[in-house]
């Protein structure tokens, strides 16, 4: 065997006709989850990467659009999960928990270093260090701008620190992620009150080229009922939470009533419970269905013992002897929908009821505090309790001063604040570059037919992260547990990978011939998804197979491929769906049996003549169905004929022409482990022609026999073991084919030992390309056999 593997083997066994040409660009919308994320995180990509065990890369993908993965992984209201196509089939993917999982892994590692960027001279000041401010600071710092964040409080984080308690968001996580932002070059000055320590105008005069107001909506609204003002036991829930989160853990005696139905109400109620309140009751004027708080939060609160009283609103605070006695409430009924689309609660006359309370926390709304604005500017900037901005440029009427987050929109969620921060950062960059501000987000694509059949089959159910009960003495310890690595992978593998490509980038990593290169496309505001560069003949065959490609805009592609030769810029993403040629389908249903994702069903199982149909959202393009299809009605997509695997016949002429002693060792490997297999063999000095296949389940006995017949000294099928196959039956199918080929050879008196398979488990503790040393031993054995083979 030759000492140098890979390159030399390829030099003798070259697949012809791989010259690249100019490639078409196509646009395909991202998956529903990605589209739903306000911050534009490529959700499908990181879920796919988690499914592959590529956790660090997954975190990298999240960070592209979110500097606070550990925080969002805990408290995000996850619109991505609401959009998830899995919702009707076993529940949406637990996307938030997956994000938390990868973020938590990093806590054990040294923090990531800031990337090198070309520094920009323009300094930017950001007022407020909540999620909007931090996200904007992150983006601007990564674009090279020196950023200073001015924070009035003693510690940065805004509502993340003072509005969310430790049992949901441990302060260590917050500190860590703020530190990551700092490491990106952001200076955070705490205890600096704009308007007191320095005015807004002074900031610009001080040399800041732009300023961003991201001060949030930190002041709680009062209940607005009689008796409230002079009763110290009636308190703003935000003020209570701030006190608690500053470390004041003074126990609350007696009965606590929280008024409101949002996250703050739940947060206050659960915190009160942890401060030894005897009873905690939430009073809300609508029903549970209308509560703005996250459903999971409500459930957890109920589980912890918070009581709820719906369709009731406070009418009067009742004090006795200078002490709070309770709240007089009115029962409500729901009338016509209001501006928010929810039905407006209407009091029922004469329905007064008394709710006893020793403490009342009001969580009925938040507004911005404009005390920091100079008196002469306030009327120009603040209208209706919000800062006025141009919706396109996010700029206030004050040139160079931008605003983002709750101070503009009113109270919203963390991820919406991050999204606003991104938009503002992009607007500031455009302003500083002298550009016209453009649309910050691409328009939503037209709806696609995802064809989730109804009723959904009994699929694997969504995994829920375990929660811990409140422990005495450790009341504020984090409640929700993180997934284990195995749980995270299993949950991520439930993902249907809607959209044109699973965006896992596995193709580039595993393409032994380096035909494919992948570039992250997450940097620009309008770009999402990945660029896959592929020779045109592949693209053409993918297109012929009815598969969608996907791309980003040409300018971005040109930018990314700027160093390539002119005309050599290619952008296309892997299609992931099998195509059905109905003319050929005889309705045998074999494909249905082999599909692990229930993507295939018969149009009419009872009819004599029927065909199979595809639920595209479920198909992962594993092509196992094509392996069992007796009629070729199922047309493989990713493994288009010219792709890896099926055009294995391209190997035949060079195999047959190889001189004695030349390497004639052929390895068919699952694309997922092809890279590692190749590396293992190369490390051992074994020259082999590596043919990655989408899944070893596609390998056919005839294929193996043909490779054998054309003179391969040995043929190795290197696939994932049964439980590791992402597509279910791959290992079983492949093992059967390998066995068939071997039995047939034995029956004919051939050398069955020249065809072999390896089903090694993934290396312990990691799915990274660390290799399988024993493959080298196996290969040497086969190599010895090959040398002994006479030309048959």
């Amino acid at each position: 065997m030759s000492a140098t593997a890979g390159s030399q083997a390829r030099a003798t066994l070259t697949v012809p006709g791989l010259a690249a040409g100019p490639f078409p660009l196509r646009e395909v919308p991202p998956s529903p989850c990605t589209l739903a994320c306000p911050a534009g995180i490529n959700v499908k990509s990181y879920v796919s990467l988690v499914a592959e065990g590529r956790f660090a890369e997954a975190l990298e993908v999240v960070r592209e659009r979110c500097p606070l993965p550990g925080i969002c992984g805990r408290v995000c209201h996850h619109p991505c999960e609401d959009a998830c196509e899995r919702r009707p089939a076993g529940g949406p993917i637990a996307i938030r928990a997956l994000k938390r999982f990868v973020a938590d892994l990093e806590l054990e590692l040294p923090p990531p270093e800031a990337p090198d960027v070309a520094p920009r001279p323009e300094r930017v000041a950001i007022v407020g260090s909540g999620p909007a401010g931090l996200a904007a600071a992150w983006d601007l710092a990564r674009a090279g701008f020196p950023v200073t964040v001015l924070e009035a409080a003693a510690q940065p984080g805004g509502m993340l620190r003072y509005g969310i308690a430790d049992y949901r968001l441990p302060v260590e996580v917050l500190d860590y992620e703020i530190d990551v932002v700092r490491r990106a070059g952001v200076e955070i000055r705490t205890g600096y009150r704009v308007g007191v320590d320095g005015g807004l105008g002074e900031l610009l005069a001080e040399g800041y080229a732009a300023a961003l107001l991201a001060v949030g909506a930190q002041r709680g609204r009062g209940l607005g009922v009689p008796g409230e003002e002079d009763c110290p036991e009636v308190e703003d829930a935000l003020a209570f939470l701030r006190r608690v989160n500053e470390g004041d853990r003074t126990p609350l005696a007696g009965r606590v009533v929280v008024i409101g139905g949002g996250s703050t109400a739940i947060e206050a109620a659960r915190s009160a419970l942890r401060l030894a309140a005897k009873e905690v009751e939430i009073v809300y004027r609508r029903r549970r269905e209308e509560m703005p708080a996250d459903e999971e939060e409500i459930e957890t609160a109920i589980a912890e013992g918070v009581a709820f009283r719906f369709l009731a609103a406070p009418a009067r605070i009742v004090s006795e002897g200078g002490r709070l006695a309770g709240v007089e409430c009115l029962r409500m009924e729901l009338g016509e929908p209001d501006a928010s689309g929810r039905r407006r609660p209407v009091p029922i006359p004469g329905s007064e009821l008394f709710v006893a309370a020793d403490h009342v926390f009001a969580a009925v709304g938040q507004e911005a505090d404009f005390g920091f604005l100079p008196a002469e500017l306030a009327p120009r900037l603040a209208a209706g309790g919000r800062l006025a901005t141009d919706p396109q440029s996010t700029m206030t009427p004050l040139r160079g001063v931008f605003a983002a987050g709750d101070v503009v929109t009113g109270p919203a969620t963390v991820i919406e604040a991050i999204a606003a921060g991104h938009r503002a950062a992009e607007a500031i960059r455009a302003f500083l570059d002298g550009e016209e501000p453009g649309a910050a987000r691409p328009a939503a694509p037209p709806p696609r037919e995802l064809e989730i059949p109804s009723p959904p089959p009994a699929w694997a159910q969504r995994r829920h992260a375990a929660t811990a009960p409140i422990a005495a003495g450790r009341e504020f310890d984090e409640v929700e547990r993180a997934f284990s690595a195995a749980e995270a992978i299993a949950e991520a593998r439930r993902c249907l990978r809607c959209g044109p490509c699973s965006e896992c980038r596995i193709c580039a990593a595993s393409c032994g011939r380096r035909h494919l290169t992948i570039h992250a496309g997450g940097a620009g505001a309008g770009s999402r998804g990945w660029l896959l560069r592929a020779p045109e003949r592949f693209v053409a065959s993918l297109e012929a197979a009815g598969a969608g490609g996907a791309c980003l805009h040409r300018e971005l592609a040109d930018e990314l491929f700027g160093d390539a030769e002119a005309g050599d810029q290619a952008v296309a993403l892997l299609p992931t769906r099998v195509a059905i040629d109905e003319d050929f389908c005889r309705g045998c249903a074999k494909c249905i049996e082999v599909c692990a994702f229930d993507a295939l069903s018969l149009v009419d199982p009872e009819a004599e003549e029927t065909t199979v149909r595809l639920a595209p959202a479920r198909c992962r393009g594993c092509n196992l169905c094509t392996a069992v299809c007796p009629t070729h009605a199922l047309v493989p997509t990713v493994v288009a004929p010219e792709w890896w695997g099926v055009r294995i016949e391209d190997l035949y002429p060079p195999l047959a022409a190889a001189a004695p002693g030349e390497p004639r060792f052929v390895v068919l490997a699952c694309q997922r482990r092809a890279g590692a297999v190749g590396a293992s063999l190369a490390a051992a000095g074994v020259a082999a022609e590596l043919v990655p296949v989408r899944c070893c389940g596609q390998v056919d006995a005839g294929m193996l026999l043909e490779v054998y017949r054309h003179g391969a000294g040995a043929v190795l099928v290197a696939g994932c073991p049964g439980d590791a196959c992402r597509y279910g039956a791959g290992a079983d199918l492949a093992a059967r084919q390998v066995e068939r080929a071997r039995v047939l050879l034995r029956n004919l008196g051939g050398d069955a030992g020249r065809i072999t398979a390896d089903w090694s488990p993934d290396p312990e503790g990691s799915l990274a390309n660390s290799g399988w040393p024993h493959l080298a031993v196996l290969a040497r054995g086969l190599g010895a056999r090959q040398e002994g083979v006479s030309d048959a």
Partner: protein, 393 residues
């Protein structure tokens, strides 16, 4: 291209009038896209073949069209010839993967196979040399593909044949160096590999002194009897399907039906046996003998007009194949017969495949029993004499 021109002339495809009479018989006509006349019009291999690869693959080469052609076009031979000229790119591979083709090509190599004959077992007796040989063909290899899926073992057909022959006092020659007969390669466009197989088989059987080659497969029979005459003209053994051999022995009174109820049967004429070789009576006389003289029930179209089982040469399978199988099974059931008997393992596989599909789809299909003639005969026939196998016939 001169090859195509001479093929057109030799097979009289050049005489096709496109009158459409063939379509009235062609089992693929209901597909709506298959037209024998359009294929017969192929003159330019580079362009026209590429445009009709699907039709070219789909043709069952069953020969039904030739029954009606007023111009005597030998369409089946024409298709076979065009397939050999057709560019391999774009051709659909075997519906069952490429294992059988790969096996045939392996056997076409210079090294003779050494077949594992372990399936014969100890009870049955074979000879090293002798005048009568049993050509086993693909029977042991089919089982690798179909036993798990369809629950059938075609190697049982070969065992049944040896048992019958042993009962008649014949120890057939069965060769470890037997190669594939080459039928599928010949019909699917690989004439060179076929030629190598034919020459090697002829030499091997001749070397063992074989004068009569028996087969249990309609395709092997037609290949040996017709195509080997051209491919290996120096060796002219008598070639018989076992049905013919048994019919003659029954007529000679050497075999008798066992006491006991034989199933009522109907017979599926395999294309290669019925239309290609004209053998339609022998299998029927065997079935009649099993049933105490009662002729098998006849389907609406039988003998030279029989419909194909839906696939030929393992080259192409689609919804039409399924339709043909369903219709043929329905026709068989409509006769009132208990068992549909075939004399070709591929007919057996294809009918059982359709039935297996229905089971997989959990729909009530046509459950008529399907059995190979040799297996049924071995179960029902006993030697008229009590002669023990004594040696070569």
């Amino acid at each position: 291209m001169p090859e195509l021109a001479s093929l057109r002339k030799r097979t009289q495809a050049a005489l096709c009038l496109a009158c459409g009479k063939c379509s009235t018989m062609c089992p693929l006509s209901p597909s709506g896209w298959f037209s024998a006349a359009r294929l017969a019009a192929i003159r330019e291999p580079e362009t026209e073949i590429a445009g009709q690869t699907r039709s070219l693959d789909a043709c069952l080469t069953c020969g039904a069209c030739e029954q009606r052609c007023p111009e005597g076009v030998r369409f089946v031979e024409f298709v076979r010839g065009v397939r050999a000229l057709a560019p391999p790119v774009g051709r659909r591979a075997c519906p069952h993967g490429e294992m059988l083709q790969a096996a045939a090509r392996l056997m076409a190599g210079p090294t003779a196979p050494t077949r594992d004959l372990g399936w014969i077992g100890d009870e049955l007796e074979i000879a090293e040399t002798g005048e009568v040989a049993l050509f086993v063909g693909c029977l042991p290899f089919f089982d690798l593909l179909f036993t798990d899926e369809l629950g059938i073992a075609t190697v049982d057909i070969a065992r049944a044949a040896i048992r019958l022959l042993n009962g008649l006092g014949i120890r057939p020659v069965v060769l470890a160096e037997e190669r594939c007969c080459g039928h599928d390669l010949l019909w699917n466009g690989e004439p060179e590999a076929f030629q190598a197989l034919a020459a090697a088989n002829a030499a091997a059987f001749e070397a063992r002194g074989v004068k009569k080659v028996l087969t249990t497969c309609a395709e092997c029979c037609s290949t040996w009897r017709r195509d080997y005459r051209e491919a290996a003209p120096g060796y002219r053994p008598e070639v018989e399907h076992l049905a013919e051999f048994l019919a003659a022995r029954l007529a000679a009174g050497e075999l008798a039906a066992r006491d006991g109820a034989a199933p009522s049967t109907t017979f599926q004429d395999p294309c290669r046996l019925g239309r290609h070789l004209g053998v339609t009576e022998a299998p029927r006389s065997v079935l009649a003998a099993l049933a105490g003289g009662a002729a098998p029930l006849e389907m609406e179209r039988s003998g030279r007009d029989a419909d194909c089982c839906g696939t030929s040469g393992f080259i192409h399978c689609d919804a039409n194949s399924r339709r043909l199988q369903s219709e043929r099974l329905a026709a068989a059931a409509a006769t009132g017969a208990e068992t549909l008997v075939t004399a070709c393992p591929k007919c057996l596989i294809h009918f059982q495949c359709a039935q297996c599909e229905d089971r997989r789809r959990q729909r009530a299909g046509n459950g008529i029993a399907v059995e190979d003639l040799t297996v049924l005969a071995a179960r029902m026939l006993v030697p008229a004499s009590t002669a023990r196998p004594t040696g070569d016939a």
